[in-house]
Protein backbone atom coordinates (compact mmCIF):
# COMPACT_ATOMS: atom_id res chain seq x y z
CA UNK A 1 0.00 0.00 0.00
CA UNK A 2 2.81 2.32 0.86
CA UNK A 3 4.47 1.75 -2.47
CA UNK A 4 1.23 2.51 -4.24
CA UNK A 5 0.97 5.73 -2.28
CA UNK A 6 4.52 6.68 -3.12
CA UNK A 7 3.93 6.04 -6.79
CA UNK A 8 0.79 8.14 -6.71
CA UNK A 9 2.61 10.95 -4.97
CA UNK A 10 5.45 10.98 -7.45
CA UNK A 11 2.99 10.85 -10.33
CA UNK A 12 1.23 13.87 -8.87
CA UNK A 13 4.53 15.69 -8.52
CA UNK A 14 5.37 14.86 -12.11
CA UNK A 15 2.08 16.25 -13.32
CA UNK A 16 2.64 19.47 -11.42
CA UNK A 17 6.12 19.95 -12.75
CA UNK A 18 5.28 19.03 -16.34
CA UNK A 19 3.59 22.17 -17.72
CA UNK A 20 6.71 24.33 -17.32
CA UNK A 21 5.93 25.90 -13.96
CA UNK A 22 6.48 29.64 -13.62
CA UNK A 23 8.52 29.47 -10.44
CA UNK A 24 10.64 26.90 -8.68
CA UNK A 25 8.04 26.78 -5.95
CA UNK A 26 5.41 24.83 -7.88
CA UNK A 27 5.77 21.79 -5.60
CA UNK A 28 5.99 23.78 -2.36
CA UNK A 29 3.25 23.84 0.26
CA UNK A 30 2.58 26.86 2.45
CA UNK A 31 0.39 26.85 5.57
CA UNK A 32 -1.17 29.75 7.45
CA UNK A 33 -1.24 29.36 11.22
CA UNK A 34 -3.72 31.85 12.63
CA UNK A 35 -4.59 32.28 16.30
CA UNK A 36 -7.92 34.06 16.18
CA UNK A 37 -10.81 34.67 13.80
CA UNK A 38 -13.32 36.46 16.01
CA UNK A 39 -13.49 39.99 14.55
CA UNK A 40 -14.11 41.66 11.19
CA UNK A 41 -10.43 42.44 10.64
CA UNK A 42 -9.39 38.78 11.03
CA UNK A 43 -12.28 37.61 8.87
CA UNK A 44 -11.17 40.00 6.14
CA UNK A 45 -7.61 38.76 6.60
CA UNK A 46 -8.65 35.12 6.09
CA UNK A 47 -10.82 36.02 3.11
CA UNK A 48 -7.91 37.85 1.44
CA UNK A 49 -5.64 34.86 2.07
CA UNK A 50 -8.21 32.52 0.57
CA UNK A 51 -8.70 34.70 -2.50
CA UNK A 52 -5.06 35.34 -3.35
CA UNK A 53 -3.70 31.89 -2.51
CA UNK A 54 -6.37 29.92 -4.32
CA UNK A 55 -5.46 31.90 -7.44
CA UNK A 56 -1.77 31.17 -6.82
CA UNK A 57 -2.52 27.46 -6.47
CA UNK A 58 -4.59 27.51 -9.64
CA UNK A 59 -1.70 29.23 -11.44
CA UNK A 60 0.64 26.51 -10.11
CA UNK A 61 2.83 29.02 -8.32
CA UNK A 62 2.60 26.83 -5.22
CA UNK A 63 1.15 23.37 -4.64
CA UNK A 64 -1.01 24.25 -1.63
CA UNK A 65 -1.74 27.13 0.73
CA UNK A 66 -4.00 25.97 3.53
CA UNK A 67 -5.23 28.14 6.39
CA UNK A 68 -5.44 26.77 9.93
CA UNK A 69 -7.02 28.73 12.78
CA UNK A 70 -6.84 27.59 16.38
CA UNK A 71 -10.17 27.24 18.15
CA UNK A 72 -9.10 29.30 21.13
CA UNK A 73 -6.73 32.25 21.19
CA UNK A 74 -4.10 30.31 23.15
CA UNK A 75 -0.34 30.20 22.63
CA UNK A 76 0.07 26.56 23.72
CA UNK A 77 -2.62 25.49 21.29
CA UNK A 78 -0.97 27.37 18.45
CA UNK A 79 2.43 25.89 19.35
CA UNK A 80 0.90 22.41 19.04
CA UNK A 81 -0.69 23.46 15.76
CA UNK A 82 2.67 24.57 14.35
CA UNK A 83 4.22 21.25 15.39
CA UNK A 84 1.43 19.42 13.59
CA UNK A 85 2.05 21.53 10.48
CA UNK A 86 5.72 20.52 10.61
CA UNK A 87 4.65 16.87 10.54
CA UNK A 88 2.28 17.49 7.67
CA UNK A 89 5.25 18.38 5.53
CA UNK A 90 4.67 22.05 4.74
CA UNK A 91 7.64 23.89 3.29
CA UNK A 92 6.73 27.23 4.80
CA UNK A 93 4.49 28.32 7.65
CA UNK A 94 3.03 31.82 7.75
CA UNK A 95 2.12 32.78 11.32
CA UNK A 96 -0.09 35.40 12.90
CA UNK A 97 1.00 34.65 16.45
CA UNK A 98 -0.98 34.60 19.68
CA UNK A 99 2.12 35.66 21.58
CA UNK A 100 5.37 37.25 20.39
CA UNK A 101 7.43 34.91 22.57
CA UNK A 102 5.50 31.80 23.64
CA UNK A 103 5.68 30.23 20.18
CA UNK A 104 9.45 30.56 19.93
CA UNK A 105 10.07 26.91 20.86
CA UNK A 106 7.74 25.60 18.16
CA UNK A 107 9.05 28.11 15.60
CA UNK A 108 12.63 27.02 16.31
CA UNK A 109 11.63 23.39 15.78
CA UNK A 110 10.11 24.32 12.43
CA UNK A 111 13.29 26.14 11.40
CA UNK A 112 15.39 23.17 12.50
CA UNK A 113 13.22 20.96 10.31
CA UNK A 114 14.13 23.18 7.36
CA UNK A 115 10.83 25.03 7.22
CA UNK A 116 10.59 28.72 6.40
CA UNK A 117 8.60 30.63 9.01
CA UNK A 118 7.19 34.07 8.21
CA UNK A 119 5.33 35.95 10.95
CA UNK A 120 3.18 39.00 10.33
CA UNK A 121 0.87 41.31 12.31
CA UNK A 122 1.34 39.25 15.51
CA UNK A 123 5.06 38.64 15.01
CA UNK A 124 7.39 36.21 16.82
CA UNK A 125 10.77 37.16 18.25
CA UNK A 126 12.59 33.91 17.40
CA UNK A 127 15.55 35.05 15.24
CA UNK A 128 15.23 32.26 12.65
CA UNK A 129 11.78 33.53 11.57
CA UNK A 130 11.00 36.39 9.20
CA UNK A 131 8.97 39.28 10.58
CA UNK A 132 6.57 41.52 8.68
CA UNK A 133 5.84 44.26 11.18
CA UNK A 134 3.76 47.38 10.95
CA UNK A 135 5.48 50.63 11.80
CA UNK A 136 2.88 51.68 14.33
CA UNK A 137 5.07 54.50 15.57
CA UNK A 138 5.09 56.11 12.16
CA UNK A 139 1.33 55.64 12.02
CA UNK A 140 1.19 57.96 15.04
CA UNK A 141 3.74 60.55 13.93
CA UNK A 142 2.28 60.74 10.39
CA UNK A 143 -0.98 62.03 11.86
CA UNK A 144 0.87 64.99 13.36
CA UNK A 145 2.75 65.64 10.11
CA UNK A 146 -0.56 65.75 8.26
CA UNK A 147 -2.15 68.07 10.84
CA UNK A 148 0.86 70.40 10.77
CA UNK A 149 0.34 70.86 7.04
CA UNK A 150 -3.35 71.64 7.50
CA UNK A 151 -3.13 73.75 10.65
CA UNK A 152 0.11 75.78 10.52
CA UNK A 153 -0.83 77.59 13.75
CA UNK A 154 -1.23 74.37 15.72
CA UNK A 155 -3.83 73.96 18.46
CA UNK A 156 -5.19 71.65 21.11
CA UNK A 157 -5.37 67.93 20.43
CA UNK A 158 -7.55 65.23 21.91
CA UNK A 159 -5.87 61.83 21.81
CA UNK A 160 -7.96 58.67 21.68
CA UNK A 161 -5.86 55.69 22.66
CA UNK A 162 -6.50 51.97 22.16
CA UNK A 163 -6.70 49.10 24.60
CA UNK A 164 -4.55 49.84 27.66
CA UNK A 165 -1.60 47.51 28.16
CA UNK A 166 -1.40 46.30 24.56
CA UNK A 167 1.89 46.91 22.83
CA UNK A 168 0.24 48.37 19.69
CA UNK A 169 -1.38 51.10 21.81
CA UNK A 170 1.99 51.96 23.35
CA UNK A 171 3.68 52.21 19.97
CA UNK A 172 1.08 54.42 18.27
CA UNK A 173 1.00 56.62 21.36
CA UNK A 174 4.77 57.03 21.38
CA UNK A 175 4.57 57.99 17.70
CA UNK A 176 2.01 60.67 18.48
CA UNK A 177 4.12 62.00 21.34
CA UNK A 178 7.14 62.13 19.02
CA UNK A 179 5.01 63.97 16.46
CA UNK A 180 4.01 66.57 19.03
CA UNK A 181 7.68 66.98 19.90
CA UNK A 182 8.40 67.67 16.23
CA UNK A 183 5.51 70.11 15.83
CA UNK A 184 5.53 71.96 19.19
CA UNK A 185 2.63 74.26 18.24
CA UNK A 186 0.33 71.32 18.99
CA UNK A 187 -0.54 70.37 22.55
CA UNK A 188 -2.32 67.24 23.78
CA UNK A 189 -5.10 68.73 25.90
CA UNK A 190 -6.73 65.45 26.86
CA UNK A 191 -6.42 61.72 26.39
CA UNK A 192 -8.95 58.87 26.71
CA UNK A 193 -9.01 55.13 25.98
CA UNK A 194 -11.36 54.22 23.14
CA UNK A 195 -10.42 50.53 22.95
CA UNK A 196 -10.53 50.70 19.10
CA UNK A 197 -14.32 50.51 19.28
CA UNK A 198 -16.63 53.36 18.29
CA UNK A 199 -19.13 52.91 21.14
CA UNK A 200 -16.41 52.96 23.80
CA UNK A 201 -14.74 55.94 22.13
CA UNK A 202 -18.03 57.87 21.98
CA UNK A 203 -18.65 57.36 25.70
CA UNK A 204 -15.10 58.26 26.65
CA UNK A 205 -14.99 61.41 24.51
CA UNK A 206 -18.42 62.54 25.76
CA UNK A 207 -17.09 62.17 29.30
CA UNK A 208 -13.99 64.31 28.84
CA UNK A 209 -15.36 66.98 26.46
CA UNK A 210 -16.86 69.37 29.07
CA UNK A 211 -13.45 69.75 30.72
CA UNK A 212 -11.60 70.57 27.48
CA UNK A 213 -10.78 73.88 25.76
CA UNK A 214 -11.44 74.27 22.06
CA UNK A 215 -10.12 71.20 20.24
CA UNK A 216 -8.49 71.68 16.83
CA UNK A 217 -8.02 68.02 15.99
CA UNK A 218 -8.49 64.49 17.30
CA UNK A 219 -5.68 61.98 16.86
CA UNK A 220 -6.82 58.35 16.91
CA UNK A 221 -5.75 54.73 16.50
CA UNK A 222 -8.51 53.40 14.24
CA UNK A 223 -12.03 52.19 14.89
CA UNK A 224 -12.73 55.18 17.13
CA UNK A 225 -13.21 58.15 14.76
CA UNK A 226 -16.95 57.81 14.17
CA UNK A 227 -17.65 57.57 17.91
CA UNK A 228 -15.63 60.73 18.51
CA UNK A 229 -17.53 62.61 15.79
CA UNK A 230 -20.87 61.59 17.33
CA UNK A 231 -19.71 62.73 20.78
CA UNK A 232 -18.73 66.19 19.46
CA UNK A 233 -22.08 66.49 17.68
CA UNK A 234 -24.04 65.48 20.81
CA UNK A 235 -22.17 68.05 22.90
CA UNK A 236 -23.01 70.73 20.34
CA UNK A 237 -19.36 71.60 19.78
CA UNK A 238 -17.75 72.38 16.42
CA UNK A 239 -16.38 69.28 14.70
CA UNK A 240 -12.58 69.25 14.78
CA UNK A 241 -10.37 67.43 12.29
CA UNK A 242 -10.76 63.79 13.29
CA UNK A 243 -8.24 61.30 11.92
CA UNK A 244 -10.11 58.20 10.76
CA UNK A 245 -9.17 54.49 10.84
CA UNK A 246 -10.39 53.00 7.53
CA UNK A 247 -13.55 51.43 8.99
CA UNK A 248 -16.63 51.57 6.81
CA UNK A 249 -18.69 53.68 9.25
CA UNK A 250 -15.86 56.20 9.57
CA UNK A 251 -15.41 56.55 5.82
CA UNK A 252 -19.17 56.90 5.32
CA UNK A 253 -19.34 59.71 7.87
CA UNK A 254 -16.34 61.44 6.31
CA UNK A 255 -17.94 61.25 2.86
CA UNK A 256 -21.17 62.78 4.18
CA UNK A 257 -19.26 65.67 5.78
CA UNK A 258 -17.12 66.16 2.71
CA UNK A 259 -20.18 66.41 0.48
CA UNK A 260 -22.01 68.71 2.91
CA UNK A 261 -19.27 71.19 3.85
CA UNK A 262 -15.96 70.19 2.28
CA UNK A 263 -14.68 68.59 5.50
CA UNK A 264 -11.05 67.55 5.21
CA UNK A 265 -9.14 64.79 7.03
CA UNK A 266 -7.23 61.58 6.39
CA UNK A 267 -7.61 57.96 7.40
CA UNK A 268 -4.96 55.41 8.27
CA UNK A 269 -4.86 51.79 9.42
CA UNK A 270 -3.35 48.40 8.59
CA UNK A 271 -4.86 46.44 5.70
CA UNK A 272 -6.00 42.92 6.61
CA UNK A 273 -4.58 41.85 3.25
CA UNK A 274 -1.13 41.93 4.86
CA UNK A 275 -1.65 38.15 5.12
CA UNK A 276 -1.27 37.98 1.34
CA UNK A 277 1.98 39.96 1.54
CA UNK A 278 3.23 37.36 4.03
CA UNK A 279 2.21 34.63 1.61
CA UNK A 280 4.23 36.14 -1.24
CA UNK A 281 7.20 36.77 1.03
CA UNK A 282 7.16 33.08 2.02
CA UNK A 283 6.92 32.14 -1.66
CA UNK A 284 9.87 34.42 -2.50
CA UNK A 285 12.00 32.88 0.26
CA UNK A 286 11.16 29.37 -0.98
CA UNK A 287 12.10 30.55 -4.45
CA UNK A 288 15.59 31.22 -3.13
CA UNK A 289 15.34 35.02 -3.13
CA UNK A 290 17.31 36.97 -0.59
CA UNK A 291 14.75 38.49 1.77
CA UNK A 292 15.74 40.55 4.82
CA UNK A 293 14.54 39.07 8.12
CA UNK A 294 12.73 42.22 9.19
CA UNK A 295 10.30 43.84 6.78
CA UNK A 296 8.11 46.82 7.47
CA UNK A 297 4.72 46.82 5.88
CA UNK A 298 3.33 50.17 4.78
CA UNK A 299 -0.01 50.99 6.37
CA UNK A 300 -3.00 51.83 4.28
CA UNK A 301 -3.72 55.55 4.07
CA UNK A 302 -6.78 57.16 2.57
CA UNK A 303 -6.77 60.85 1.63
CA UNK A 304 -9.30 63.37 0.50
CA UNK A 305 -8.93 62.50 -3.21
CA UNK A 306 -9.15 58.70 -3.00
CA UNK A 307 -11.92 58.60 -0.38
CA UNK A 308 -14.74 57.75 -2.78
CA UNK A 309 -12.85 54.92 -4.43
CA UNK A 310 -11.80 53.44 -1.08
CA UNK A 311 -15.30 53.69 0.34
CA UNK A 312 -16.74 51.91 -2.66
CA UNK A 313 -14.25 49.07 -2.31
CA UNK A 314 -15.00 48.58 1.38
CA UNK A 315 -17.79 46.28 2.49
CA UNK A 316 -20.37 47.69 4.96
CA UNK A 317 -19.18 46.83 8.45
CA UNK A 318 -15.72 46.01 7.12
CA UNK A 319 -12.30 47.59 6.89
CA UNK A 320 -10.60 49.09 3.85
CA UNK A 321 -8.34 46.43 2.45
CA UNK A 322 -5.45 45.90 0.12
CA UNK A 323 -4.41 42.56 -1.29
CA UNK A 324 -0.87 42.21 -2.54
CA UNK A 325 0.26 40.88 -5.89
CA UNK A 326 3.59 39.16 -6.38
CA UNK A 327 5.12 42.31 -7.89
CA UNK A 328 3.94 44.54 -5.05
CA UNK A 329 5.37 42.05 -2.57
CA UNK A 330 8.68 42.13 -4.45
CA UNK A 331 8.69 45.92 -4.13
CA UNK A 332 8.18 45.68 -0.36
CA UNK A 333 10.97 43.12 -0.11
CA UNK A 334 13.26 45.42 -2.09
CA UNK A 335 12.44 48.16 0.43
CA UNK A 336 10.64 50.48 -1.96
Amino acid sequence: MNIARLLLASAALGLLAAPQALADTADKKIALSNNYAGNSWRQAMLKSWQKVTSQAVADKVVAAADAFTTAENQATEQAAQIQNLILQGYDAIVVNAASPTALNGAVKEACDAGITVVSFDGIVTEPCAWRIAVDFKKMGSDQLDYLAGLLPDGGNLLEIRGLAGVSVDEEIHSGIVAGVGKHPKFKIAGSVNGDWAQTVAQKAVAGILPSLPEIAAVVTQGGDGYGAAEAFKAAGRPTPIIIMGNRHDELTWWKEQKDANGYETMSVSIAPGVSTLAFWVAQQILDGQDVPKDLVVPFLRIDQDNLEASLEATEPGGVANKEYTLDEAKAVVAGK
Partner: protein, 313 residues
Amino acid sequence: MNVLMPSPRLVRAALPALSLAALLVAIWFVQPRAISYFGFNLMLNLAMPIAFATIAQLCVITVNDLDLSIGAFVSFVACVGATWLNATPLLGVAVLLGAVVVYALVGALIHLRNLPSIVVTLGMSFFWLGCSVLLLPSPGGSAPAWLAALVKVRTPLVPFAILVSAALALVVHVGLMRSAWGAILRGAGGNPVAVARAGWSLLRTKVTMFALAGFFGVLSGLSLVGLTTSADANIAIRYTLLSIAGVILGGGEFVGGRVSPVGAVLGAMTLTLAGSLLSFLRISPDWQIGAQGAILIVVLALRALVNRLERRR
Protein backbone atom coordinates in the same frame (compact mmCIF):
# COMPACT_ATOMS: atom_id res chain seq x y z
CA MET B 1 -20.71 -16.22 29.18
CA ASN B 2 -19.00 -14.53 32.06
CA VAL B 3 -16.00 -16.75 31.61
CA LEU B 4 -15.42 -15.38 28.14
CA MET B 5 -15.77 -11.74 29.18
CA PRO B 6 -12.71 -10.14 30.72
CA SER B 7 -13.46 -8.73 34.14
CA PRO B 8 -14.97 -5.23 34.05
CA ARG B 9 -12.17 -4.06 36.31
CA LEU B 10 -9.66 -5.07 33.67
CA VAL B 11 -11.67 -3.48 30.88
CA ARG B 12 -11.89 -0.30 32.92
CA ALA B 13 -8.14 -0.23 33.43
CA ALA B 14 -7.48 -0.99 29.77
CA LEU B 15 -9.86 1.62 28.38
CA PRO B 16 -7.43 4.58 28.46
CA ALA B 17 -4.73 2.49 26.80
CA LEU B 18 -7.19 1.23 24.20
CA SER B 19 -8.40 4.76 23.36
CA LEU B 20 -4.81 5.89 22.94
CA ALA B 21 -4.02 2.89 20.71
CA ALA B 22 -7.10 3.57 18.57
CA LEU B 23 -5.98 7.17 18.16
CA LEU B 24 -2.46 6.11 17.18
CA VAL B 25 -3.82 3.74 14.53
CA ALA B 26 -5.94 6.57 13.14
CA ILE B 27 -2.95 8.91 13.04
CA TRP B 28 -0.82 6.24 11.35
CA PHE B 29 -3.51 5.85 8.73
CA VAL B 30 -3.90 9.57 8.01
CA GLN B 31 -0.30 10.73 8.34
CA PRO B 32 2.12 7.75 8.33
CA ARG B 33 5.16 9.96 8.67
CA ALA B 34 3.97 11.13 12.10
CA ILE B 35 4.57 7.63 13.47
CA SER B 36 8.32 8.00 13.82
CA TYR B 37 10.79 9.18 16.42
CA PHE B 38 10.67 12.69 14.96
CA GLY B 39 6.88 12.68 14.80
CA PHE B 40 6.34 11.45 18.35
CA ASN B 41 8.86 13.95 19.57
CA LEU B 42 6.89 16.79 18.01
CA MET B 43 3.41 15.53 18.81
CA LEU B 44 4.12 14.58 22.40
CA ASN B 45 6.57 17.13 23.75
CA LEU B 46 3.72 19.49 24.63
CA ALA B 47 1.99 16.50 26.27
CA MET B 48 4.70 16.50 28.93
CA PRO B 49 3.55 19.67 30.75
CA ILE B 50 -0.06 18.57 30.31
CA ALA B 51 0.77 15.19 31.88
CA PHE B 52 2.35 16.93 34.88
CA ALA B 53 -0.66 19.24 35.24
CA THR B 54 -2.98 16.24 34.97
CA ILE B 55 -1.14 14.44 37.77
CA ALA B 56 -1.37 17.62 39.86
CA GLN B 57 -5.11 17.67 39.27
CA LEU B 58 -5.27 13.96 40.09
CA CYS B 59 -3.72 14.62 43.51
CA VAL B 60 -6.48 17.10 44.28
CA ILE B 61 -9.25 14.93 42.85
CA THR B 62 -7.98 12.03 45.00
CA VAL B 63 -9.00 13.89 48.15
CA ASN B 64 -12.40 14.67 46.64
CA ASP B 65 -11.61 18.27 45.69
CA LEU B 66 -11.26 20.07 42.38
CA ASP B 67 -8.50 22.51 41.45
CA LEU B 68 -9.62 25.31 39.13
CA SER B 69 -6.39 27.25 39.61
CA ILE B 70 -3.90 24.77 38.14
CA GLY B 71 -3.84 26.46 34.71
CA ALA B 72 -3.14 29.88 36.21
CA PHE B 73 -0.61 28.35 38.58
CA VAL B 74 1.27 26.65 35.74
CA SER B 75 1.31 30.00 33.90
CA PHE B 76 2.71 31.67 37.01
CA VAL B 77 5.45 29.03 37.33
CA ALA B 78 6.28 29.54 33.65
CA CYS B 79 6.57 33.31 34.25
CA VAL B 80 8.85 32.75 37.25
CA GLY B 81 10.85 30.28 35.16
CA ALA B 82 11.31 32.83 32.37
CA THR B 83 12.29 35.70 34.67
CA TRP B 84 13.63 35.16 38.19
CA LEU B 85 14.79 31.57 37.74
CA ASN B 86 16.94 32.78 34.86
CA ALA B 87 18.21 36.08 36.26
CA THR B 88 18.56 35.20 39.96
CA PRO B 89 18.27 31.40 40.30
CA LEU B 90 18.23 31.45 44.12
CA LEU B 91 15.28 33.83 44.27
CA GLY B 92 13.53 31.81 41.57
CA VAL B 93 13.88 28.54 43.48
CA ALA B 94 12.74 30.24 46.69
CA VAL B 95 9.64 31.65 44.98
CA LEU B 96 8.76 28.25 43.50
CA LEU B 97 9.15 26.58 46.90
CA GLY B 98 7.03 29.33 48.41
CA ALA B 99 4.37 28.68 45.76
CA VAL B 100 4.24 25.00 46.75
CA VAL B 101 3.80 26.08 50.39
CA VAL B 102 0.93 28.37 49.33
CA TYR B 103 -0.68 25.37 47.63
CA ALA B 104 -0.35 23.35 50.86
CA LEU B 105 -1.88 26.23 52.83
CA VAL B 106 -4.82 26.37 50.43
CA GLY B 107 -5.39 22.68 51.17
CA ALA B 108 -5.29 23.38 54.90
CA LEU B 109 -7.70 26.30 54.53
CA ILE B 110 -10.15 24.20 52.55
CA HIS B 111 -10.06 21.49 55.20
CA LEU B 112 -10.09 23.64 58.34
CA ARG B 113 -12.86 26.02 57.28
CA ASN B 114 -14.70 23.27 55.40
CA LEU B 115 -14.91 25.45 52.29
CA PRO B 116 -15.86 24.21 48.82
CA SER B 117 -12.60 23.71 46.95
CA ILE B 118 -14.09 25.00 43.69
CA VAL B 119 -14.67 28.44 45.19
CA VAL B 120 -11.30 28.68 46.90
CA THR B 121 -9.30 27.50 43.90
CA LEU B 122 -11.28 29.71 41.53
CA GLY B 123 -10.26 32.62 43.73
CA MET B 124 -6.67 31.40 43.76
CA SER B 125 -6.67 31.28 39.96
CA PHE B 126 -7.14 35.07 39.93
CA PHE B 127 -4.41 35.40 42.53
CA TRP B 128 -1.93 33.46 40.38
CA LEU B 129 -2.97 35.31 37.24
CA GLY B 130 -2.45 38.62 39.02
CA CYS B 131 1.01 37.56 40.18
CA SER B 132 1.93 36.51 36.62
CA VAL B 133 0.77 39.82 35.15
CA LEU B 134 2.74 41.74 37.78
CA LEU B 135 5.81 39.65 37.03
CA LEU B 136 5.49 39.72 33.24
CA PRO B 137 3.12 42.51 32.13
CA SER B 138 3.84 41.79 28.49
CA PRO B 139 4.90 38.42 27.02
CA GLY B 140 8.61 37.80 27.16
CA GLY B 141 11.42 36.60 29.36
CA SER B 142 13.62 33.67 28.51
CA ALA B 143 13.95 30.23 30.00
CA PRO B 144 17.25 29.25 31.63
CA ALA B 145 19.45 27.53 29.04
CA TRP B 146 19.80 24.37 31.14
CA LEU B 147 16.01 24.00 31.30
CA ALA B 148 15.53 24.44 27.55
CA ALA B 149 18.35 21.96 26.91
CA LEU B 150 16.87 19.47 29.39
CA VAL B 151 13.37 19.28 27.91
CA LYS B 152 14.71 19.08 24.37
CA VAL B 153 17.23 16.35 25.09
CA ARG B 154 17.25 13.68 22.36
CA THR B 155 17.21 10.32 24.07
CA PRO B 156 18.07 7.25 21.98
CA LEU B 157 15.22 5.15 20.55
CA VAL B 158 12.35 6.55 22.62
CA PRO B 159 11.57 10.31 22.70
CA PHE B 160 12.24 12.09 25.98
CA ALA B 161 8.58 13.08 26.45
CA ILE B 162 7.50 9.44 26.44
CA LEU B 163 10.22 8.43 28.90
CA VAL B 164 9.28 11.24 31.28
CA SER B 165 5.57 10.44 31.03
CA ALA B 166 6.23 6.74 31.67
CA ALA B 167 8.44 7.49 34.65
CA LEU B 168 5.86 9.92 36.02
CA ALA B 169 3.05 7.40 35.67
CA LEU B 170 5.13 4.66 37.30
CA VAL B 171 6.31 6.73 40.26
CA VAL B 172 2.87 8.09 41.07
CA HIS B 173 1.33 4.66 40.55
CA VAL B 174 3.69 3.03 43.03
CA GLY B 175 3.35 5.87 45.51
CA LEU B 176 -0.40 6.26 45.39
CA MET B 177 -1.75 2.84 44.39
CA ARG B 178 0.77 0.37 45.83
CA SER B 179 2.10 1.89 49.05
CA ALA B 180 0.45 1.95 52.48
CA TRP B 181 0.65 5.73 52.55
CA GLY B 182 -1.08 5.87 49.20
CA ALA B 183 -3.95 3.79 50.53
CA ILE B 184 -4.48 6.28 53.36
CA LEU B 185 -4.30 9.26 51.00
CA ARG B 186 -6.87 7.70 48.68
CA GLY B 187 -8.99 6.63 51.62
CA ALA B 188 -9.10 10.23 52.85
CA GLY B 189 -10.91 11.09 49.62
CA GLY B 190 -13.04 7.98 49.29
CA ASN B 191 -14.15 7.54 52.87
CA PRO B 192 -12.85 10.34 55.09
CA VAL B 193 -14.88 9.30 58.14
CA ALA B 194 -13.36 5.82 58.23
CA VAL B 195 -9.84 7.16 57.78
CA ALA B 196 -10.34 9.74 60.55
CA ARG B 197 -11.76 7.06 62.88
CA ALA B 198 -8.70 4.93 62.25
CA GLY B 199 -6.68 7.73 63.77
CA TRP B 200 -5.21 9.42 60.72
CA SER B 201 -5.13 13.19 60.41
CA LEU B 202 -7.32 14.33 57.53
CA LEU B 203 -5.66 17.74 57.67
CA ARG B 204 -2.29 16.17 57.03
CA THR B 205 -3.51 14.10 54.07
CA LYS B 206 -5.15 17.12 52.48
CA VAL B 207 -2.09 19.31 52.97
CA THR B 208 0.10 16.53 51.54
CA MET B 209 -2.03 16.12 48.44
CA PHE B 210 -2.28 19.86 47.77
CA ALA B 211 1.47 20.25 48.28
CA LEU B 212 2.01 17.40 45.80
CA ALA B 213 -0.35 19.14 43.39
CA GLY B 214 1.75 22.29 43.76
CA PHE B 215 4.92 20.29 43.19
CA PHE B 216 3.65 18.70 39.98
CA GLY B 217 2.29 22.10 38.92
CA VAL B 218 5.82 23.50 39.25
CA LEU B 219 7.18 20.64 37.12
CA SER B 220 4.47 21.33 34.54
CA GLY B 221 5.29 25.05 34.37
CA LEU B 222 9.03 24.46 34.15
CA SER B 223 8.75 21.87 31.38
CA LEU B 224 6.37 24.19 29.52
CA VAL B 225 8.67 27.20 29.71
CA GLY B 226 11.58 24.99 28.67
CA LEU B 227 9.67 24.05 25.52
CA THR B 228 8.36 27.51 24.63
CA THR B 229 11.60 29.23 25.80
CA SER B 230 9.63 32.24 27.03
CA ALA B 231 6.43 32.92 28.89
CA ASP B 232 3.16 34.79 28.83
CA ALA B 233 0.80 35.35 31.77
CA ASN B 234 -1.95 33.44 29.97
CA ILE B 235 0.20 30.68 28.55
CA ALA B 236 -1.43 27.71 30.29
CA ILE B 237 -4.95 28.87 31.15
CA ARG B 238 -6.32 25.95 29.12
CA TYR B 239 -4.60 23.42 31.36
CA THR B 240 -7.27 23.69 34.05
CA LEU B 241 -9.93 21.99 31.97
CA LEU B 242 -7.46 19.80 30.05
CA SER B 243 -6.13 18.36 33.31
CA ILE B 244 -9.61 17.58 34.62
CA ALA B 245 -10.52 15.97 31.29
CA GLY B 246 -7.26 13.97 31.39
CA VAL B 247 -7.98 12.57 34.87
CA ILE B 248 -11.54 11.60 33.97
CA LEU B 249 -10.51 10.20 30.60
CA GLY B 250 -7.90 8.11 32.39
CA GLY B 251 -10.46 6.38 34.56
CA GLY B 252 -10.71 8.73 37.54
CA GLU B 253 -13.97 9.83 39.08
CA PHE B 254 -15.15 12.92 40.93
CA VAL B 255 -16.17 10.96 44.04
CA GLY B 256 -12.66 10.96 45.51
CA GLY B 257 -10.30 8.03 46.00
CA ARG B 258 -11.03 6.49 42.59
CA VAL B 259 -8.15 7.56 40.40
CA SER B 260 -5.62 5.97 38.11
CA PRO B 261 -2.24 7.71 37.65
CA VAL B 262 -1.28 5.57 34.65
CA GLY B 263 -4.67 6.20 33.09
CA ALA B 264 -4.38 9.94 33.74
CA VAL B 265 -1.03 10.19 31.94
CA LEU B 266 -2.47 8.17 29.05
CA GLY B 267 -5.50 10.47 29.12
CA ALA B 268 -3.28 13.55 28.82
CA MET B 269 -1.52 11.99 25.82
CA THR B 270 -4.85 11.03 24.26
CA LEU B 271 -6.08 14.62 24.51
CA THR B 272 -2.89 15.97 22.93
CA LEU B 273 -2.89 13.44 20.11
CA ALA B 274 -6.59 14.01 19.47
CA GLY B 275 -5.70 17.61 18.59
CA SER B 276 -3.01 16.40 16.18
CA LEU B 277 -5.34 13.92 14.52
CA LEU B 278 -8.05 16.53 14.01
CA SER B 279 -5.48 18.86 12.48
CA PHE B 280 -4.16 16.10 10.18
CA LEU B 281 -7.73 15.39 9.10
CA ARG B 282 -8.05 19.08 8.15
CA ILE B 283 -11.21 19.43 10.14
CA SER B 284 -12.28 23.08 10.06
CA PRO B 285 -11.35 24.90 13.27
CA ASP B 286 -15.00 25.67 13.92
CA TRP B 287 -15.62 21.94 14.30
CA GLN B 288 -12.43 21.05 16.13
CA ILE B 289 -13.64 21.87 19.64
CA GLY B 290 -16.80 19.95 18.93
CA ALA B 291 -14.83 16.98 17.59
CA GLN B 292 -12.62 17.03 20.66
CA GLY B 293 -15.74 16.98 22.81
CA ALA B 294 -17.13 14.09 20.76
CA ILE B 295 -13.98 12.03 21.44
CA LEU B 296 -14.42 12.70 25.16
CA ILE B 297 -18.07 11.71 25.05
CA VAL B 298 -17.32 8.46 23.21
CA VAL B 299 -14.70 7.44 25.77
CA LEU B 300 -16.95 8.37 28.68
CA ALA B 301 -19.86 6.49 27.14
CA LEU B 302 -17.66 3.39 26.94
CA ARG B 303 -16.81 3.94 30.59
CA ALA B 304 -20.46 4.12 31.55
CA LEU B 305 -20.92 0.82 29.77
CA VAL B 306 -18.11 -0.73 31.80
CA ASN B 307 -19.61 0.67 35.00
CA ARG B 308 -22.84 -1.06 34.12
CA LEU B 309 -21.04 -4.34 33.69
CA GLU B 310 -19.42 -3.84 37.07
CA ARG B 311 -22.76 -3.27 38.73
CA ARG B 312 -24.30 -6.30 37.11
CA ARG B 313 -21.70 -8.53 38.68
